[in-house]
């Protein structure tokens, strides 16, 4: 009988005092209750008298040793990952970062008149400049607005991503055309004819963003610089909304090549809510979001070759960017 009791005690589940305040395992009333392990023990022939339940023995949780890497590799179906190359000693946090996209906007005014050396205003200011009530130009043109979108491929991390990028913008200006032979005191402009100048600047740029400090020291500023080749389509339309033609029969449209430089500083917005930024990264792959401002110096006059229109400018742009 004592052997049966020992077996029953061994088969008794270990129950902590917190689980059973009385220290006695009570059978569950519901049908889903697990059967009492002791029920599997055959009743002793002398079990007519009630036997007091054995008191649970005090248990002691012994921490198991962690499996070795070899053991995990042996049992796992997932191939072990290679150790990422650590640049500057530590791996960058977050998911892999490969691209960046930007939308920016800023004032713009092409330097069409830069080559003009005559009296008064150059041709661009004469047409698009600010005028008096007679339509005569009195001041330089107001700055227009140029929206730009940009995209870049981040190729290598050298204290920050180094890559190549491209961008495309749009600019347009519009004004009443001048009357060829105004008479007397009449307004010198025709309200029936609007002349339009438009351009679409493109650029292929090398881009470097110094993100080391922002990545590892939580300073949310990322200085960067872009430099590269630029090309801009341009066109001039006359009052009929067709491409203008001059006296020589030459159409007023074309393209001009040059270079541009965009140094700037971006404010990484992750610091506002770091947990949200991490979740955004895990959910969408967007590593960082920025607001930024940059200076843009563009020289678009065919590198000085031949007789080309000058569409460069020095301006500031501001916008939003994401890295993903």
């Amino acid at each position: 009988m004592s052997a049966w009791l020992v077996l029953a005690w061994l088969a008794e589940p270990v129950v902590s005092a917190t689980d059973e305040p009385d220290g006695v395992a009570q059978p569950e009333a519901t049908g889903d209750a697990q059967p009492d392990p002791s029920a599997d023990v055959p009743a002793a022939p002398e079990a007519a008298a009630p036997v007091p339940p054995p008191r649970p023995a005090p248990t002691k949780l012994v921490p198991k040793p962690l499996p070795t890497e070899q053991a995990i590799a042996r049992d796992s179906t997932v191939p072990p990952t290679k150790k990422a190359k650590r640049s500057f000693g530590r791996a960058r946090p977050g998911t892999k970062q490969r691209f960046a996209a930007e939308f920016k906007i800023g004032p713009f005014l092409p330097e069409v008149d830069s080559r003009y050396s005559g009296d008064g205003f150059g041709p661009y200011a004469t047409i698009f400049g600010r005028t008096n009530s007679m339509g005569v130009t009195t001041k330089k043109p107001k700055l227009g607005v140029m929206p730009v979108i940009a995209f870049e491929w981040q190729i290598v991390y050298l204290g920050g991503p180094l890559g190549i990028g491209t961008q495309i913008g749009f600019f347009r200006d519009r004004a009443d055309a001048l009357l060829a032979e105004p008479m007397g005191t009449e307004n010198i402009r025709s309200s029936a004819d609007k002349t339009t100048f438009g351009m679409v600047p493109l650029a292929l740029l090398a881009v470097y963003r110094f993100e080391l400090v922002a990545d590892f020291y939580k300073v949310p500023l990322v200085p960067y610089v872009k430099a590269g080749l630029a090309y801009s389509f341009w066109w001039i339309k006359d009052g009929t909304k067709k491409v203008a033609v001059n006296e020589q029969g030459e159409k007023g449209r074309g393209g001009v090549v040059g270079w541009q430089l965009n140094p700037g500083v971006a404010l990484r917005l992750d610091f506002i809510e770091r947990n949200a930024a991490k979740k955004l990264d895990q959910a969408t792959g967007i590593n960082h979001t920025y607001v930024f401002g940059e200076f843009q110096l563009s020289r678009l006059r065919n590198f000085g070759v031949g007789n080309a229109i000058d569409l460069g400018d020095k301006t500031f742009l501001a916008g939003l960017a994401i890295e993903f």
Binding site: V156, T195, G255
Partner: protein, 487 residues
């Protein structure tokens, strides 16, 4: 005789059997009299006709809404109609008269005691059996708006219309009266087809509609017209109207003498084309040889008076008060008034005498009917030869006319029209002179070719020092990047 019947007759049931026989015979006679048709049993189709009055195509829902206009009425472009009564299981009562009319509010006009509503012209008065075969006939659009003299003949062919093609708008169609015999002739409560019933609109219209007729040109018109000179072009602007039934505008152009410009003008719209409110119709160009089948249609007579109000000047401002610049000016003496020399509206008698004096001073201050007859020549005739623009939306406020010669004076006139295509001169005659203008490209040339040459590639010359330095710098950056990647 069946045995049971003979037995019944020999017994005391003889009176009952006799009563049954009498009842059966009575029922048989009633069945022989037939039943009265219902309005819903009539199928009605409308068709457009060509200049010979031949049926061409079935009216669409668009036609019902905007086909009938004043020009078609003046040209007597008839509407072909087919009516058919569906056959019933039992025969129709041959003693019933079914009368067919064309017009609007025929039930009220039939009573004959309403001075405003005249009786409709009667097309047919026959027994129902005649309607079971398709009945085809044509009627002038004039009958949609005009009734007949209550004291005169009502039948088509002999009736005299009380209205003209000059004015009026509303819905009309075929009316069918099925007499119940209680009183002689049709009574207003006996009309069971009331103008809106047809098979043309049932397929694609949620609600039944009759034929919409509109002989009135737009009454509410834009004002403050101004004209500005451009390079080989002029731009005409006006103040937008907030209300009215203007569907669109077209610009008419003429030289300083009022002659059409060569290369301009459009063909007269098709007689049988679907009108979507993008053009206008004038009888002189729609039927240059006069009304179609005018001699065969009695309704063509008696409306000489349509030309009589030449003094009407319309309720639009023809003074051309818009600002003008330079030598472009809107003519303050624009007339655009109706004159008394109208060509008549299908009367076949040429010019009507009328009562108006037709002096037309052109101040444009008149009200009421806008120019019932157009001048026969000049830009104010609104002839298609003067049209120099496409359809301009009714909500537009400007129009541009290109292809003109700089320094040459031209006449312009804006025509407004409604969905049915009834035109009216919205502006007076404006004059303008296109002038050469200078755009940026030309200004660059004037200032010494500041904008350089056009074209997309200027890479034939040798790069200058600045460019060479730039390329060297870019090459160095590329080499450094390559070496870094090799590591």
């Amino acid at each position: 005789m069946p045995r049971r019947l003979s037995a019944a007759l020999t017994t005391g049931a003889a009176p009952v059997v006799a009563a049954l026989i009498v009842a059966l015979l009575g029922a048989r006679e009633a069945n022989a009299a037939g039943e009265a048709p219902a309005g819903a049993n009539f199928d009605i189709w409308y068709y457009a006709t060509d200049d010979n009055g031949e049926r061409d195509r079935l009216f669409s829902a668009d036609d019902l809404a905007g086909f009938v206009n004043r020009a078609r009425c003046e040209c007597n472009q008839t509407i072909s109609t087919r009516i058919q009564l569906q056959r019933a299981m039992a025969s129709y009562d041959p003693t019933i008269r079914v009368q067919t009319f064309v017009g609007s509010r025929c039930d009220i006009g039939q009573v004959g005691n309403n001075a405003q509503v005249k009786p409709c012209v009667r097309i047919l008065s026959e027994a129902p059996i005649a309607y079971t075969k398709a009945i085809n006939f044509e009627f002038s659009p004039l009958w949609l708006v005009a009734g007949v003299d209550p004291q005169g003949d009502k039948d088509l062919g002999n009736a005299t219309p009380t209205g003209t093609c000059d004015a009026g708008q509303g819905d009309a169609g075929i009316w069918i009266c099925i007499e119940n015999g209680a009183q002689p002739d049709c009574q207003s409560d006996e009309f069971q087809v009331m103008g809106t019933q047809n098979e043309n609109s049932s397929a694609d219209a949620m609600t039944a509609q009759g034929i919409r007729y509109d002989f009135d040109p737009p009454q509410t018109l834009p004002d403050n017209f101004s004209i500005n000179a451009g390079d080989s072009a002029v731009q005409i602007e006006w103040d937008q109207i907030s209300t009215g039934d203007v569907s669109g505008f077209r610009v008419l152009c003429a030289d300083a003498d009022g002659a059409p410009l060569p290369g301009q003008g459009i063909d007269a719209p098709s007689l049988i084309g679907i009108n979507r409110g993008t053009t206008y119709f004038i009888a002189r160009d729609l039927c240059p040889d006069g009304p179609f089948n005018g001699e065969d249609e009695p309704i063509d007579t008696g409306d000489d008076s349509t030309t009589g109000d030449g003094g009407s000047t319309g309720d639009f401002d023809t003074s051309g008060g818009g600002s003008s610049s330079g030598d472009v000016s809107s003519s303050d003496d624009a007339t655009a008034t109706g004159s008394d020399s109208g060509t008549g509206t299908g009367t076949g008698t040429g010019t009507g005498t009328g009562t108006g004096t037709g002096t037309g001073t052109g101040t444009g201050t008149g009200v009421g009917t806008t120019g019932t007859a157009l001048p026969t020549d000049g830009i104010e005739s609104l002839g298609y030869a003067y049209v120099c623009s496409g359809h301009i939306s009714g909500t537009s406020q400007e129009a541009r006319v290109s292809g003109l010669d700089n320094g040459v004076e031209y006449q312009f006139l804006i025509v407004a029209y409604d969905l049915a295509g009834n035109p009216v001169a919205a502006s007076g005659v404006l004059t303008g002179t296109p002038r050469e203008t200078i755009d940026l490209w030309e200004q660059c040339e004037i200032d010494g070719d500041i904008c350089g040459s056009g074209g997309f590639c200027n890479c034939t010359s040798e790069p200058d020092r600045d460019a060479r330095g730039w390329f060297v710098a870019m090459g160095l950056v590329g080499m450094i990047a390559r070496r870094r990647r090799r590591r």
